[in-house]
């Protein structure tokens, strides 16, 4: 959980015209953290990207995450997101594998 574990993913810019880039902080917990091998990553995406776009990038970067995408849900800024929503610069996105509190 130290800052030393934060990696940065910079994806290719969309072709054709000048895109604004934004940064999203991604947190991974429990099984997602173990599969990805890190707890936090800074993701740079095109403005207008959605939570689903972010997940796509994460799964292609950390392919072991593929095994839990069916059961995982996403949270954006501490709340669950049901459908893909557009992310904004500075947002906090979290990968939430099946929870087991209690």
């Amino acid at each position: 959980m130290t800052s030393a574990s934060i990696e940065s993913i910079e994806t290719a810019k969309g072709a054709g015209f000048e895109n604004h880039r934004i940064r999203v902080s991604v947190l991974m917990f429990a099984k997602a953290r173990e599969l990805a091998g890190l707890s936090e990553v800074s993701l740079e995406v095109d403005e207008g990207a959605t939570t689903a776009d972010c997940l796509k990038i994460l799964v292609s970067t950390y392919d072991k995450l593929q095994s839990i995408t069916e059961s995982m849900v996403l949270a954006l800024n501490h709340d669950y997101v049901e459908n893909p929503v557009v992310v904004n610069d500075g947002d906090e996105l979290a990968l939430i594998p099946p929870i087991s509190g209690g």
Partner: protein, 192 residues
């Protein structure tokens, strides 16, 4: 939390994620009031076996800011359903030795039924929506546990979305799904 004058309608909600043993009396005192005729509590404790496997150790981790946010939402959701005086909830994280408390819920109300029902609602919601994970360490391996409530909530959201009905699983309580405010605590499965 001590200012429980008879004029107080409700007490402030208390939610906590702690790394030390839970102190039930703290949360019971947080909901104590001269107006209350009942305090209902639920205490979850860690078991030493799962499907005949010996559990050596349990480790809990939480997404703390979100867990606190979701706990507060559960407090609010409970208050929309029952006339409650006080609500306090706490979850322990880190290594929890076998037989110790991992979660505690305390609810107070004027009459017992409201507190009892709200207490059950609260622990069910905690298990379905609060981002906390438990890993069980066995002699021959380890596993991240998965609450069935997490998946049931997903199904409920799907059904609601399709307009085909409400969550049948929770209908035994006869109250869940009636009130609004549920939108924030349901979600569906994501696929990439």
């Amino acid at each position: 939390m001590g200012e429980t004058s008879a004029d107080d309608l409700v007490l402030e909600d208390m939610v906590e994620i702690v790394e030390h043993p839970l102190e039930p009396s703290k949360y019971i005192d947080a909901v104590r009031s001269p107006r209350a005729g009942a305090i209902a509590t639920f205490m979850g404790t860690t078991r030493d076996t799962f499907e005949e496997q010996q559990v050596l150790e349990l480790q809990y981790e939480a997404y703390i800011p979100m867990a606190l946010f979701q706990l507060r939402k559960i407090c609010q959701a409970a208050r929309t359903r029952w006339p409650l005086i006080g609500v306090a909830m706490a979850h322990r994280v880190g290594v929890v030795p076998i037989g110790e408390e991992s979660v505690f819920v305390a609810v107070s109300s004027v009459h017992r039924r409201d507190a009892l029902q709200a207490c059950e609602f609260a622990i069910d919601e905690i298990k379905a929506t609060v981002p906390i994970w438990k890993k069980e360490i066995y002699t021959n391996g380890e596993v991240w546990k998965e609450n069935k409530e997490f998946f049931e909530k997903s199904t409920i959201a799907d059904l609601k979305k399709c307009g085909t009905g409400t969550g049948a699983k929770e209908s035994n309580e006869g109250i869940v799904g009636k009130a609004e405010g549920r939108r924030g605590s349901c979600f569906i499965k994501m696929s990439p």
